[in-house]
Symmetry: C2
Subunit: 133 residues, 2 copies
Amino acid sequence: MTDIAVPESHADLLALAIAPAMATIGPGGEPQCSPVWFEWERGVIRVSLTTQRQKYRNLVERPRVALAFVDPDDMYRSMELRGTTTSIEPDIDNALLNRLAKRYLGIDAYTFDADGTERVVVSVTPSHVTTWQ
Amino acid sequence: MTDIAVPESHADLLALAIAPAMATIGPGGEPQCSPVWFEWERGVIRVSLTTQRQKYRNLVERPRVALAFVDPDDMYRSMELRGTTTSIEPDIDNALLNRLAKRYLGIDAYTFDADGTERVVVSVTPSHVTTWQ
C-alpha cells in the first residue's frame, strides 16, 4: 500500500476537520452520498461507521468509494479521491471514533451512540485523485 | 413529476448557493463524487455540465444520482437527495449556466468556458430524501 500522489496544492484539505461527502453504491446499483468524519494517515482514509448504516452494508458488498473534499473557505477549491475499501474492522474501544470526536468536537470520548451500537473502522485506499482549482 | 417531500427542516438548503457533492456511477461501476452548482425548482434539481466531463458521460449511460447538501454554517445539518436523471438537454444560450453564474458569482454571464465548449442542462428528479440533524 503506497501513498498516492495527492498534489501539494490540495494536501492541506486532508488535515482539516471537514466532512467530505462519501459516495458508495447501493444494493440496486444506485449511488449513495453523505458526509463523513475521516482521518488520513500515510495514504489511507479511515472512517467510523455504525453497522446499522446503509453505507456500511454497501461497503461490505461493494467496496468502491469516492470522497469529495471541499475547502470550507473556498468552495471552488476541491478534490476527489476515488478508491477501494481495503479493510473493515471492529473499532475496538471506539479508538477511532474517539480520535475523531477529539478532532471534530474537541472532546475526549464520543458518548452519543445508543447502547449496543457497533462501530467499525473503514479503511479506504485511494487510487485516483482529481483536483479543481 | 411531483415534488418529493423535502422536510421543512432542511428545505432551506435548496435555496442556498452551496455546491452539493454529486455522486454518479463510472464506466466500471465505481462511484464518482464532486461538487456541482445547482438550482432547484418544483421538485427538480438542475445542474450545468460540459459534455467533456466524465460526470456527463456517466449520466448519459447510468442516470442514477445522489447529492449531499451540507449547511455551510453547521456541517452536521445535511441532506441527501437520491434520484434519477430525467433529461439532458442542450443549454441553449447558456441560459442555465448564466443563471447559476448570477446565483453563485453575482455576475450576469459565465464567460470562462473555452471556445467550443458544449453545455447541457441535467435535470434530476429526486425520489428519496435522507436528513441528518
